[in-house]
Symmetry: D2
Subunit: 215 residues, 4 copies
Amino acid sequence: MFVAGRSADKIEQVAKTIASKGGSADAVVTETTREEDVIRLFDHAMTPRAGLDSLDLVAYNAGNNRKLDFRELSAELFEDFWRIGCFGGFLVGREAARRLVPLGRGTVLFTGASGSMRGKPGFAHFAAAKAGLRMLAQSMAREFGPQGIHVAHVVIDGGINGDRLRLNRPEIVQERGEDGLLGVDAIAETYWQLYRQPRSAWAQEIDLRPYKENF
Amino acid sequence: MFVAGRSADKIEQVAKTIASKGGSADAVVTETTREEDVIRLFDHAMTPRAGLDSLDLVAYNAGNNRKLDFRELSAELFEDFWRIGCFGGFLVGREAARRLVPLGRGTVLFTGASGSMRGKPGFAHFAAAKAGLRMLAQSMAREFGPQGIHVAHVVIDGGINGDRLRLNRPEIVQERGEDGLLGVDAIAETYWQLYRQPRSAWAQEIDLRPYKENF
Amino acid sequence: MFVAGRSADKIEQVAKTIASKGGSADAVVTETTREEDVIRLFDHAMTPRAGLDSLDLVAYNAGNNRKLDFRELSAELFEDFWRIGCFGGFLVGREAARRLVPLGRGTVLFTGASGSMRGKPGFAHFAAAKAGLRMLAQSMAREFGPQGIHVAHVVIDGGINGDRLRLNRPEIVQERGEDGLLGVDAIAETYWQLYRQPRSAWAQEIDLRPYKENF
Amino acid sequence: MFVAGRSADKIEQVAKTIASKGGSADAVVTETTREEDVIRLFDHAMTPRAGLDSLDLVAYNAGNNRKLDFRELSAELFEDFWRIGCFGGFLVGREAARRLVPLGRGTVLFTGASGSMRGKPGFAHFAAAKAGLRMLAQSMAREFGPQGIHVAHVVIDGGINGDRLRLNRPEIVQERGEDGLLGVDAIAETYWQLYRQPRSAWAQEIDLRPYKENF
């Protein structure tokens, strides 16, 4: 398995966790908005290795979110959100298509948000990027599905019960209570089930939210 | 498990198949568009039984489809499609909510179609019913999710590789080839995975189609 | 012009208002959920009259709304909402198609609501009917557009500044302030503009809401 | 009126046409993807002029479309489509909001396409940009509507009966026949009607297509 991300610390931590549970993972520092990084990552990941099947699952999960005052929003910030939320997904999706289509199999999963389908005040920058990513996923699904590549878009709607929220906003974790935030393992399980779907019944889009989430 | 349907022959066949695989199923003849039948089915299914957990998964799967000339469509036929495609879902959904909400848990799954989101020529009757069922599922999900009931809508897009198509339109099965139609087991697996989702990450809607399906 | 509705008083009042402004309108008592009433209305309206062009604009505007407890909702009430919200639209839409398609021109407008696209708690009955009406409009548009019939769906999102609200809930009118509710003339103007659209650029769907409305 | 665009020739031609019909228009060469150009355009347009009301209608109409092979698509081209299709809309939308919100009135119209709501094979680059623009319009509408600014998104679905198509693909004009392509005047009329809508009934989204268009 390959864990790619901007921060060496973070992805090595993930790789170690995987190793500690008996798995095996390579941490590859990657700036997903830089074309050469993405190409290098795929070159590395697709290199045949003794005893290993070739790569066949790609998950694009980059992104962040923040409410911002629209009239104060700088052009740079609007662009940054697009780079990480949409452009990086294009680079990864294109490389995945280039490598997987010739093999006739593989799964490419993109992570969306409620902003993928709806623009709320203060989130134009986020929704514009995420809706773009969703269209990318749809176009890829329609084009590459018949060639054996499963492309799906997972709409993650709600706060994630992970380190970021627990550290920065412990009061939210408290307030929502158990299962009131999206469980990391539960999200991962859905990605895994998407990967496992036989090609006779592929999902293109699924939404996930905690049972208490207002939507 | 309870298998409910209009035709005793069909549902007993299903019950036998389940029994032959080591499961156990009651066939209950039910006209899903008749309120008293649906209530009786739930009365029966919710009766406590030694050694059995109480019912906690309901799947509404009734419906059929047919292209019809809109200008020739009789009021009766338009209504029939709604009765089976939407009204029966209401009766089942309401009974499920009545019985499950007090328990604070349970899963209710509704089967949709591409007509649930889009009206094509010759399918007004079908789309009107299916879109209604989808709204029913959404309303229930929004209302009963926070009370612990998982309500999801599964959009089945494409022909199903089942008896109906194999008997009536063998040429389509031929033409689409292996995995070109929706596999029954693959569909069932997705319903099962929805049932298994922990409440920290519930799906409300998912679409399923064969890899070759144009959409 | 023909004003059709269930209550003779109301529609005669409308006809009088139209006459007082120099127009001319026939009030035709019609139960829109009764097939023979709808057919009779069209028979009447399509009868050639000296000095008058034949009918070429049909607007289906029936319906009401009310929040209802889902678990207490009777089968009869669920059906009633569908009869007025969707089935009556089918009867009117079908008659319109039967009469207008041979002429190769005409406009059919259906009135929707935010419930046409989204099911909220306590509104399953309303959303199921309205989403059905929307699919009916879509199917008709796709089928009859190329035959010269303009079919559009107008999503009315918000309270209407009309008699019903002013009499029953004057506090809302007060609270929203001027232009905070949908103006009747403003709605009518949009219907009029849809009617006026040349066939080289027809709208199929448009939403209308007051500037203050949260959506 | 101000006509802004990349090519001096084109916009001066438009300004001349307007003048020849008794109107008055300034052609302002503007690269809509360049922040300083957009700011300068608004500075210019918002300068009070004797005998003229201040600007209160902004239409963002930039963009182009082309089917491209996804796997061969360069990062530069993907970005270019976003710059013109979405980022330029952000720059214009933000400047419009900055200038109009303090006045408490004004209309901002964005031009969409069927790609705004759906990603087709070979159009990922276009759909990703257009869906982003749509979310921008939605966010702005939700935020600035209550402050008196009308923001709407017009989905233009189909070929436009304009110079580009008539010069480059005369066979399409031929094949579609009269009214089979979107009329420029008919489109303009809809923009005009949106501008004229009173704030008691504003449209946020409308789609336009020729009567023959398949959708």
